[in-house]
Every structure is written in C-alpha cells, then in structure tokens.
C-alpha cells in the first residue's frame, strides 16, 4: 500500500469506512464458505499433502503422532461445525464491538497520533499482514492464517521451525484453489521475509523472544518501527475444580487440559484452584494421571515411523481418540523433576507425582507463574480468591476453565477479556477463540460497521 495515499481527513475516511464495512460482511461470508470447504478438503483429499505433512512432522518435529492427530481432529471437527461462517457472523452482528468501532472513529477525529485510530484508517481490505507464528503445538498458527484470509487481507508468514510442515502444506493447497492473491509468501527464515510495506504484524510467542524478533526485523529493514504489532504472549491457563465428583466425572477432559501436548501451549492448565486440598483429591488425581500414562505406554511403540501400519489406519474416527503421548520427554526433564520432587519432600510441600508429572500445592499468596510444562500448581482456595489470582497473573494468563456444570458459580474477573470456559474446550477451542482476549478477525477488521 502506498503510504502517501493514506486518508488525511477523518470525515471522508469515516464514510469510506462505513461503506467498506457493509461490503465486507457479504464478501467475508463468501470467503468463509469457500475457505471452510477448501480446508475440509485438505483433510479429506488423499492428494492434499496432509499425510505427507503428518509423516514429516512425526519424524521431524517434537510433536507426537497422538498430539498431531488430536489437533487435526479438533480443527477438522470445528470446521465441520461451521466455525468460520459463525466467526464472520459474530463479527458483523456484535453490537458492542460495533459501538467500540464508532467510538474509535470519534477518537480519531481528535487525535491523529492515536495508534488505534491509525490502524482503523490503515487497515483496508488487502492490507499486508505479517505473521510471526509460534510453534509449540501443531498448527497453532492456523487461526491467524484463517483470520487474515477471512478479513480479506494478504498473508505473509514466518513459519515456526518447530512446526514447519503443516502450515506450508495448507498454504500450498489453498493456493491451488484460488487464494493466491491473498497468500503472498511464507518462509522459515527471518532473513527471507520479503520487504512488503506491511500494515500490521501478528506475533504469537514468548515475551522473551518478542523484542529480539522485532529488533531483527527492523534492523533488516523488513519493517518500519511504527508498524503496529499485535503480541500474544500469554503462557498458561487456570482451572477451577469445585469438587471430587467433578474430577472423577471429567477426569479425561481434566487430564487433557493438564497433560495434552506435554503441558505446552497457553491453553494448557498450569494452575488449578480448588476449595479442596490436594491431599483430598490425591487418589482420583493419581488414578487419572496413571490412566493417561498407562494408555500411552502401550501406544509408545506406535509413535514411530517403524510402525507405519498404525499410521495408515488413520481416519477421522480414530484421531478423535488420540491419547496423550509420552513422546517428547527427555532425560533432562526427568532429572530436573527428580530434584523437584526431592525439594518438595524437603520443604514438606504436598504434591502428587506420577511419571514425570507433578502437581504441587502452593499457598495462594505465593503461587508463582508456572514455568515448567509438566508441573501444575494446585491452590487450595475458594472461588472468590480465584479473582485475585487472575488479576495477579495478568497478561501471562490465557484462559479460565471450570470443571462441573455450574460455571455461573464462579465470579467473573472484572477483566472483560476473560470468559469462563468449560474444561472440555481447553484443548478443543472453537476456531474463533480469542488468544489473549483478542478476537483476531475483529482486530483485523476495524472497518466493520
């Protein structure tokens, strides 16, 4: 986009924006139907390249076959549910968001330096968006790609080296179906990102890597300093567990939330708050964890390419039953957890340890931010205290889940970005879920009125 052509007048810009928003709704819905169709076809068509990407990922990444199949199954089922069309509808029908957009335009009239106002005028259809993808889970960057395509923008991606096969496979596939105009380029190497007059950068990853990535891109003159970045850096989620009954009845979903993907990913539970102490739930928790690990012990051999028959049996039904894998555990993890268990014993801390997984009870005053994927903190506290904890963890926290049926029991934190979600959605979120509280499609379309 030619930056000199940016609208100078608020009023003319505002009218233009209104018009653009109206047109956008219809076009976006058409794109959603098409994209949904093409993505489902990637899952179903034997020639799509998906199988090759699965094989490459199993042999060439840290992801286990179970996690890969689980993730593919979760995404496919959400596509089949119609998430993309729903997402567009949600954006266009959301009254509160609409009001916010109008307010934003009002702000713009008085403050041209305001960043949000800048974005509002800057982001049109066919804006150039650069994605810096995280790679801690298979296909974790897909949501950003979908949002950019639905919004009508142009995508350039820095693909994560930890997940180098799936996104390129999908992008190549989509190009064959007419998405070439919007999918411009992708690469694993930062140095190979083309200079393209980007309007926005979407970043997902750790807080620690953010500044160095940004610095590299600016120094390489790939980006201007003033280009806005949307940074998603939350690192863990919290679950509220009201009773022993809830643990027993939802043990599969609960363990999935804790242990799926080796505990990695910001939607994985790092802290559990419960009115029950860990000792009171020791037996059901140990049983649930043992159950997960025992199931996977038998699957361990199937996690390798030496057992291709198992992989060939892949279909939609069996991927839905993918178990939590053991693959990915390294000796170093085991050793550090041995020291951690010894430490817990030394300071008389209550903990449950199964395999190389630990749940440790910490007092609410001092519970730290979780830093180890395989260590979950248990906080013996009531639901009122949960609010304080959420406020304390701030931007590091991604989601809040509840076990049981009565989510309304939990007092909602005043931070509006948090919805209380059911525990079973932890690892199977809708495609329109909001990382760090931001609806990415809505964010990319400030012009929707």
């Amino acid at each position: 986009m030619d930056k000199s052509a940016r609208p100078k007048s608020h009023h003319s810009g505002s009218n233009e924006v209104h018009k653009l928003g109206k047109n956008w709704s219809k076009q976006a819905k058409d794109r959603a139907y098409l994209l949904q169709k093409h993505l489902i076809k990637w899952f179903d068509d034997e020639q799509s390249g998906m199988q090759e990407a699965i094989q490459q990922s199993i042999s060439g990444t840290d992801f286990s076959s179970e996690d890969i199949y689980f993730q593919l199954s979760a995404i496919k089922s959400r596509l089949e549910t119609g998430d993309l069309v729903h997402w567009v509808d949600q954006c266009t029908n959301d009254r509160s968001s609409k009001d916010q957009s109008i307010e934003m335009l009002d702000i713009q009239s008085t403050d041209n330096e305001n960043k949000e106002a800048y974005r509002t005028t800057q982001l049109r259809e066919r804006s150039n968006i650069l994605c810096i993808h995280a790679g801690n889970l298979p296909l974790v960057g897909l949501q950003d790609v979908i949002a950019i395509l639905l919004a009508g923008h142009c995508y350039t991606g820095k693909i994560s080296r930890k997940d180098p096969y799936f996104l390129p496979s999908i992008l190549s596939w989509l190009i064959q179906f007419g998405w070439r105009d919007q999918i411009q380029h992708w690469t694993q190497n930062t140095a190979d990102i083309p200079v393209n007059n980007y309007d926005e950068v979407l970043f997902a990853g750790s807080e620690s890597s953010l500044s160095s990535v940004r610095k590299t891109l600016i120094e390489a003159r790939i980006l201007d300093e003033e280009i806005p970045w949307l940074n998603r850096t939350a690192s863990f989620s919290i679950a509220y567990c009201p009773s022993k009954k809830a643990v027993i009845e939802q043990s599969t979903e609960f363990m999935d939330a804790l242990m799926r993907h080796g505990g990695k990913g910001c939607r994985s539970v790092g802290v559990v708050v419960s009115p029950l102490g860990l000792n009171e739930l020791r037996i059901p928790l140990e049983n649930a964890m043992k159950n997960v690990l025992e199931q996977n012990s038998s699957l361990r051999q199937a996690n390798t390419l030496e057992q291709p028959d198992n992989l060939e049996q892949y279909n939609s039904s069996n991927i839905k039953e993918a178990k939590i894998p053991l693959k990915g555990v390294n000796r170093s993890d085991l050793t550090s957890l041995t020291y951690r268990k010894a430490y817990n014993i030394a300071v008389d801390r209550v903990f449950v340890g199964v395999g190389d997984w630990l749940i440790e009870e910490h007092p609410i005053e001092y519970v730290p931010e979780p830093s180890n994927n395989r260590v979950v903190y248990w906080v013996h506290a009531n639901k009122e205290d949960l609010v304080n904890l959420v406020e304390r963890f701030g931007s590091a926290l991604q989601s809040i889940y509840y076990l049981g049926t009565n989510a309304s029991d939990i007092k909602k934190p005043y931070i509006p970005s948090f919805d209380i979600e059911s525990i079973d959605s932890a690892q199977r979120p809708p495609l329109y879920w909001k990382p760090d509280g931001t609806d990415i499609l809505r964010y990319l379309c400030p012009f929707i009125i």
């Binding site: 020291y339 014993i345 030394a346 300071v347 008389d348």
Partner: protein, 388 residues
C-alpha cells in the same frame, strides 16, 4: 517438630541410635570447634577445603531436617563422608529459605539432647535472624544464624581477603533498607563500621547530596573511604546531583561498592551499562568501582577483584551447574545456575543453588549475568541480561 524448636525421638530426624561419640568420631575437628572457643571451623587451616566440606555435610545432614530430607530423596546419607571427596553434595535451592526453616535443630542423641554439647542449638539461645527484602506480599527468605560470631568472622575475613587489613571508613547509602531492619546487608555494614577505628563511618542522608567537602577532608587526612550501597541507590544519588546541579567528582582515593541489590526497583539495567553510568556519574576511574555479591542465605561475600569478575574467599566454592541437572558442574565459560558452597553457614546449610545465572572463568572467578527467572522479584542482583 517438638516444642521449643527441638526435635524429638518420634520425629524422623531423631538420631537416637547414635551416640555423641559416634558423631565426634565422624566430624572430630568440626565438633571440637563447635564446643571450644577456637577459630571458626571454616577458617581452620589444618584441614583442606574438601575435608572441611565433608565434615560439614555430615553435620548438616544429621541436624538440618530440610537438608536431610532433600539429600535422602536424592540418594545421599550421613555415611557419605567419603563421597563428598568425589562429588558435590546436593545443592539445596535457596528458595528453601523462603519455604522452610533451613537450619540445624536440637535433637536427641541417644537419651541426650545434642544441645547439651552444642549450646548454640539450645532453644533459649538468641540467634540472629535475617530476612531478605521484599514487601509483605512477597515471600521472604529467612536465615537464622545460631552463632553470630561466625557471621562476624566471615564478614571480616571476606573483607580482608579482598581489601587487606588497612582501616576503611564506610559511608553507607541504603535507600529502601529502613523497611527491613532484619537485612543482612545492614548487619554487615554495621560490623564494617564498628571496625573503623576513626569512628568517621556513618549512614548518609537519603535526602541530600554527597557531602563532598567532608569527603575531600577525609582523603586529605590520609583515610581510605568506601562508599557502600545498593547499585540503584547510587544511581538515585547521581540523579540527585544532576538535578541539583552539583557536579560529582570523586577523589581517586575513594572507592565505591555496589551490592547489586535494588531496593527501589523502578528500572532494570545491564551490569555493563550500570558500571558505565556509575563511572560517568561519579566522574571516577573504573578501578574505583567494586561489586559485592552476597545474599541473605549466605554468611560470606564475594568481591570483584578486577572489572566484572567476582572472587570468593577461600572457604567458599562457587560452581556453575546445569539448571536441569544441578549435580552436573559445567566447564568454565558455560552459562548455568550459580551454586555456592559456603562453609561459614555451619548451622544452616552450606550447599546452595541460587536462582542466579552465571559463568565462571578458568581461575574460578565468576560473573553474575542476571536472574534465571526474569519475573522473580528477589532483592539482589536485579539486573537484566548482560549485553552481548
């Protein structure tokens, strides 16, 4: 634990099957030093470092319940005296000083309380207790020092090992410490001031610029002066001088000690930048700047000998270990977690794993590169990663 802090036979740390003679045989020199008024054991010159370490390990394994449980869980026992000559005993994370009572306790030996022989373990003894800095919302380290003379001896010997036996006037600038009267740093500064025979040592006003006239007078009179304080306090003082348009120019005879601590934590800065800022702000030579590395959990201190490298005293061994496998000591030049064996910590725990990231050179000197977990808000070494 029983009443008055004494362990009873029913507790897992009772050593009722032992006799005091057994203990004496296993740690003869240490036992003698703890029961007689002689040179502190860590300053004993008749034993080498490893011999002292092994005796202290056995002593702390027997009488420090927290350390005993930690070691037992890692496969160590009180019989591992000889093993200490082959490998480092387990390093207890310093976090334990926040989570538990990491000191030696009175217990029964046979039918007799061991405090009958080791009187500093008596419940009515009056130990010192230090707390790390932090707000009430923060978990703070607690270090009980059962025999304060060990701390005094360590402070003095650490200082003299670096700065010799000359008299030093200490001018301390310690913003933020008034909220923590149990600061080990304040105790240390008090001792250094006591040992100044001129009685010119004092705490500087936090509301005023450095009294340069008085400082110059002390230098003219031939005294050696050390300005002693937390790094960020010095930056505050420099800013005050700039604000009040009072140029700072430090006489070459005056030295500055920065303790790495930050009590007003309102900024983070790399160590290199900090040094540059201090040299520029005080208008002094780099050689006038010194760093002290110490912590609430340690009774000994390390000082820079030149530039950024710290040197520990003879009774302290610094190691840099693999964070995932703290029993694995890394080669010089490799970054890892700093482990400390401080033999002055006789009545608490001498084997500690800090949360600090560091590197060691071939001479055993070390640098602190920052906190391993950047979100941790502990009082000391609050600098972000070193540049480059």
């Amino acid at each position: 634990m029983g009443t008055n802090g004494r362990l009873t036979m029913n507790e897992p740390f009772s050593i009722s099957s032992q006799t005091i003679e057994h203990i004496k045989q296993r740690i003869p020199e240490l036992y003698a030093s703890l029961t007689e008024s002689v040179t502190p054991f860590f300053l004993n010159n008749t034993l080498n470092f490893e011999e002292k370490l092994a005796q202290i390990f056995v002593f702390q394994y027997i009488l420090n319940p927290v350390y005993q449980k930690y070691c037992t869980a890692l496969g160590w026992s009180a019989d591992d005296y000889s093993r200490c000559f082959e490998e480092l005993p387990p390093l207890l994370p310093v976090q334990a000083f926040k989570d538990a009572a990491v000191w030696t306790h009175d217990t029964l030996v046979g039918d007799t309380e061991i405090s009958t022989y080791l009187t500093h373990l008596k419940a009515d003894a009056q130990p010192l207790e230090f707390l790390s800095s932090g707000t009430s919302a923060m978990q703070r380290s607690r270090h009980r020092v059962l025999n304060p003379t060990f701390y005094d001896a360590s402070i003095r010997a650490s200082w003299q090992a670096r700065f010799g036996k000359d008299n030093w006037i200490i001018w301390a600038y310690t913003p933020g410490y008034s909220e923590n009267p149990q600061s080990s740093l304040l105790y240390m500064i008090d001792r250094l001031m006591e040992w100044d025979h001129t009685q010119e040592s004092r705490y500087l006003s936090l509301e005023e610029c450095l009294p340069l006239q008085q400082l110059n007078k002390l230098v003219e009179d031939g005294h050696r002066v050390m300005l002693f304080g937390a790094a960020f306090g010095w930056l505050d003082l420099i800013e005050r001088h700039e604000r009040e348009n009072e140029p700072l120019s430090l006489p070459r005879e005056v030295s500055i000690m920065e303790t790495g601590g930050m009590k007003t934590f309102r900024r983070s800065i790399s160590r290199v930048d900090l040094f540059d800022r201090l040299v520029q702000g005080f208008n002094c030579a780099p050689e006038q700047l010194h760093t002290e590395y110490g912590m609430t959990e340690c009774l000994s201190q390390a000082y820079t000998s030149k530039g950024l490298w710290l040197k520990s005293p003879d009774w302290v061994k610094i190691v840099v270990v693999d964070p995932d496998q703290p029993n694995k000591v890394l080669e010089s030049g490799q970054e890892g977690l700093i482990g400390i064996v401080d033999l002055a910590n006789i009545y608490s725990c001498s084997f500690m794993l800090t949360g600090d990231r560091g590197v060691q050179d071939e001479e055993g000197r070390f640098q602190v590169l920052g906190r391993w977990e950047p979100t941790s808000l502990r009082g000391c070494n609050f600098l972000m990663e070193q540049d480059g």
